[in-house]
Symmetry: C2
Subunit: 322 residues, 2 copies
């Protein structure tokens, strides 16, 4: 008989479910489709249904479920467990999602934003395990962030902190959708890296195999650029390396600010693994100050898309496990 | 009869002493010269002598001294209370300064780095009072920083964090003494702002009253630039405004990362008061994203050079006051 917590990661297409033990060991993760047309009630019912399955399994094994963690896209009112808005599901405005999960299950629950949940997952069970001072950068469509100091997530005074993708990397740089210019995510997200590379190809017409891909399928993504680089395409290599350098520059600023044990890279771009982290490490060493030796390690996440559910369970452990 | 803590701020020229009550109210601050030629023993004796005066006053008033906080230039081993190095005093290598103060006084003591002590002072008694999430930027010869999250100072995993002056503001920008390029302090410290302005005057020979000052006294400082600006000098106004914009850019990144209640500006540049903070606020509003309304306030410190001793006492309260 052991204690477990249930983690739920609410995504735009799938909801993932996991049970974890106190030491972060995770059950097999399963998923259910995200019901997009049932409104708040339909969504909550699907989430309760998946969680109940894990609760029933625990009961059958003689285990004890002590709480549920829910990672959700935002904006959220974390304190009161409320989803303030969720554009892709009708009616998801000011929905008390935490209590809509907690009450039917008869278990305490906690709501966390999905980026923080993923960062916390890497902390409790992934590349950041044992690193109580940790920064996680999610390199996907945008750049998201999670900050852990002394084992605790950082939220900010108004719960709008850890927006690492909107640190300004380049003064008066590329226009960002947020209204600022030169945001980190304009240089280092998978989406914007591909967009910038396409813009350069359109403007300069360089000799590159990426032109053929654009001609045939209309666009390129970060993986196309890395594959062309690996195949010896000089333009692609330069585009990839420039992104790695911008990423390293952001990591230097985060290192000076937080002095973390590790900076963990996750999200779509991080699937490139060593192809990404090795050039980032090279530039990081190159850009690093010489006042102290380099102590912060840049690493690739190990949990991938499982981090969100495992981290949601971890947040429940944090809140209900003592 | 009340409890008090003693704060000591060790500077290169003077040592400042203060006693504070639990609510942060401070006694009149007094100072003694920093003995530069007595080695560690002479330095500690001077510090003990000043602190003993406050202890005696407390005893005479029937008050109870519960601890001593010491703010010191670094590098330090905070945990063990040791000064690792202090270039301007001979023999200050691996000196157990905390215990050299604590033992003669018969009081518990805590060592803190001077930048953190000053930031903590603004938190407990100054412009940041009541702001549990706070960033303090010290704009002096360089740019120093202090970060407070949830009322606690942030140190980093290896106690080399909060080096906000070495965030990278401009990619491949001005060479910094730390070995990096484009550091925040290269654009926003009083020293480097003056240096950059002199470099521009030498290179471009603009029409400016600052040329006359350079011709007569050999150099200019930040105050000269502000005074010329106030007198209507267009070149000086542009130089001052550009610094304010860089400062605002750094504040935007810090806001996205920490979402603090306030960012407090202190140090030599902050003596310009409204002349500095008003243009910084204007650029901060201009550069701010539009995803949420502006909630972080940029403010001028209120304690000036008293922040270090008051904050050192505050650190003692934090450690010994519960």
């Amino acid at each position: 008989m052991a204690d477990i917590c249930v983690g739920i990661d609410l995504g735009g297409t799938f909801i993932k479910f996991v049970a974890t033990s106190r030491d972060g060991a995770a059950s097999e993760i399963f998923e259910l489709p995200t019901p997009l047309d049932g409104g708040p009630t339909g969504l909550a019912a699907q989430m309760v249904s998946g969680a109940q399955k894990l609760v029933d399994q625990a009961t059958a094994s003689g285990d004890n479920v002590i709480g549920v963690g829910i990672g959700s896209p935002g904006p959220l009112d974390l304190k009161n467990g409320i989803v303030l808005a969720m554009p892709n599901i009708a009616g998801m405005v000011n929905v008390p999602l935490r209590d809509m999960i907690s009450e039917p299950l008869g278990l305490p629950a906690v709501l966390e934003n999905d980026a923080n949940a993923a960062a916390y997952g890497e902390y409790v069970s992934g590349a950041g395990k044992g690193s109580d001072d940790l920064v996680v950068l999610t390199l996907g469509t945008g750049v998201g962030g999670g900050i852990i100091i002394g084992g605790e997530l950082v939220y900010g005074a108004h719960q709008i902190g850890a927006e690492l993708g909107h640190m300004i990397l380049v003064p008066d740089g590329a226009q960002c959708g947020c209204g600022q210019h030169g945001c980190f995510e304009q240089y280092c997200s998978a989406k914007f890296m591909a967009q910038r590379t396409m813009d350069r190809i359109a403007a300069d017409e360089p000799q590159t195999a990426l032109s053929d891909i654009i001609a045939s399928k209309g666009s390129i993504d970060a993986r196309d650029i890395n594959e062309a680089r690996a195949a010896g395409d000089a333009f692609a290599a330069e585009a990839w390396d420039q992104t790695a350098r911008y990423l390293a520059q952001g990591c230097i600023s985060l290192t000076r600010i937080f002095d973390p044990d590790k900076i963990v890279l996750t999200g779509g771009m991080a699937k490139a693994g060593a192809d990404l982290v090795e050039p980032v490490r090279k530039h990081f060493a190159d850009l690093h100050w010489n006042l102290t030796e380099m102590k912060t390690e840049v690493a690739i996440a190990t949990l991938g898309s499982d981090a969100g559910s495992i981290g949601a369970a971890g947040v429940a452990w944090r809140k209900f496990g003592s």
